[in-house]
Symmetry: C2
Subunit: 262 residues, 2 copies
DNA sequence: GTCGTACGTTGTACATTGTACATCGTACGG
DNA sequence: CCGTACGATGTACAATGTACAACGTACGAC
């Protein structure tokens, strides 16, 4: 079968039951279960945190739990659903600072920071698809918490969702780049310097500064400004500032609700 | 070996030679080549456009070219490098509208739109990692073109790169969601309606509106406003507007350079 | 108590992938 | 004209998710 690496693979009802820990209706018979869902989630998350999404293997998780690979299928319908519950559990463990009464920029910055921390602690969360997010207690609690940061600013419901989506999408995109940077640094034996050492001469021969004046000038300026070709931390600072400025024109319209909370 | 789905897998010099079509130094001997790099790129791109990144298989591309799978390795060192050249070729084929003299918002909107079109025509380009972009003629030409839209606005070199990165990262993140939406719609036989039909009752039973007042209210408002749980087109419009507003505070500082070009 | 049966566990097996390797045939340089 | 470099290919292997069947366990009904 196709390797999913994507959430929401199977039966939604089964997945939801898993997420909300719905107890199975039938009476337990047969041998006692040696594990439980949370143990599987914990083991799988530990493996993925350290070895990345490509290291998440049913065999690997089973080995961690000293159990045969197929045993996992007693607790989880498949790998896709495992990712679902892993993600929801990670959402559920996020810290949720109370910023009521603070200016909206502070509140939104806190939300961004919390997500950034998630993506740093669990890099794989930045990479998995969140198109149909796992509607478990973790995800919903996260959503609720983050919406409160946008409450009382004079935005209507759809605008609140829009702003939050934009903010989170920015943080995730940034984290994805950062995660990829670390992943490629680990996987390939080629360091950035070695790469440039090997690529530089050929590039210099083939890349005519006269043909690409801006690209060569700006590219080298940006490259030397940050240490590498791209600096996710800098991009985060820059992007978040721009983004908040952009939201300001929406939030700080001439309404009384905005000014009282800004 | 691990399935890459990531660019820049191997020797940078070999990849760059491929990208810039450096002719191999040695004199050709032996049987004549039945194919060439561009034919492979074309076939691979066609396959990937229609069947997505998971459909991109060396065997599949070989079949398309009526050739045995291993033959491809004559023209390409491996799958990672194939993705590199595919990406660069796609970049090279992008349309590049001349917007000199237009207000900067128009110019940046055009850049965003061109990338959006790329991601719509070749959805897989939104999904592949672009951490170390393929420094081929396509990518560099794209970079040069896009920087011109930011030239003469009073930004320094690093700021130009920052702004462009932010803009492109936004468009890509948006396109990624859209691509995922279409992919899941194709792969799973479950439509959005079927999904909600199966998930709705259980969710209603388990999700207490009193416990999650904002989430339930805003979530349903956003869900009904757009047809589905998420509307990438709407998110694009909203996000681009906010983003340009955010860049405006940087670009329209009280400098003469900005006002003369806005 | 006894026994049937539902269920947890596991070994085996298969399809699918990227690609290493050896083989074979071809056509160019000497 | 012929040795050899090179293109094409068949075979093979490792890694993956997971279907399937076999096996053993312990609970519920009597």
């Amino acid at each position: 079968m196709r390797a999913p690496d994507v959430t929401s693979g199977g039966d939604p009802a089964r997945t939801l039951a898993l997420l909300w820990r719905e107890p199975s209706t039938a009476a337990r018979r047969g041998p006692q279960r040696g594990l439980n869902l949370d143990a599987v989630i914990e083991a799988a998350t530990a493996v993925t945190n350290t070895e990345g999404l490509t290291g998440l293997t049913m065999r690997r998780v089973a080995q961690e739990l000293r159990v045969s690979p197929m045993t996992l299928y007693t607790y989880v319908p498949g790998k896709a659903e495992l990712l679902d519950v892993m993600l929801d559990a990670a959402y559920g463990r996020m810290s949720r600072a109370d910023t009521t009464g603070q200016p909206w920029r502070v509140r939104l910055t806190a939300v961004a920071e919390e997500n950034r921390t998630l993506f740093e602690t669990h890099p794989w969360t930045a990479t998995v698809s969140t198109l149909r997010p796992p509607l478990g207690p973790g995800a919903i609690g996260k959503y609720e918490h983050e919406l409160t940061a946008l409450d009382g600013l004079g935005l209507d419901d759809v605008e609140m969702d829009d702003c939050l989506t934009l903010l989170l999408s920015f943080v995730q995109a940034n984290a994805r780049v950062a995660a990829e940077a670390r992943a490629t640094a680990q996987l390939t034996t080629v360091t950035d310097e070695q790469w440039w050492a090997a690529a530089g001469p050929l590039l210099a021969r083939v890349l005519d500064p006269a043909a690409y004046p801006l690209a060569t000038r700006v590219g080298s300026a940006a490259g030397t400004a940050h240490g590498s070709a791209h600096d996710p931390a800098h991009a985060y600072e820059f992007g978040l500032r721009r983004l908040l400025d952009g939201l300001a024109t929406l939030i700080e319209r001439t309404t009384p609700a905005a000014s009282e909370n800004s």
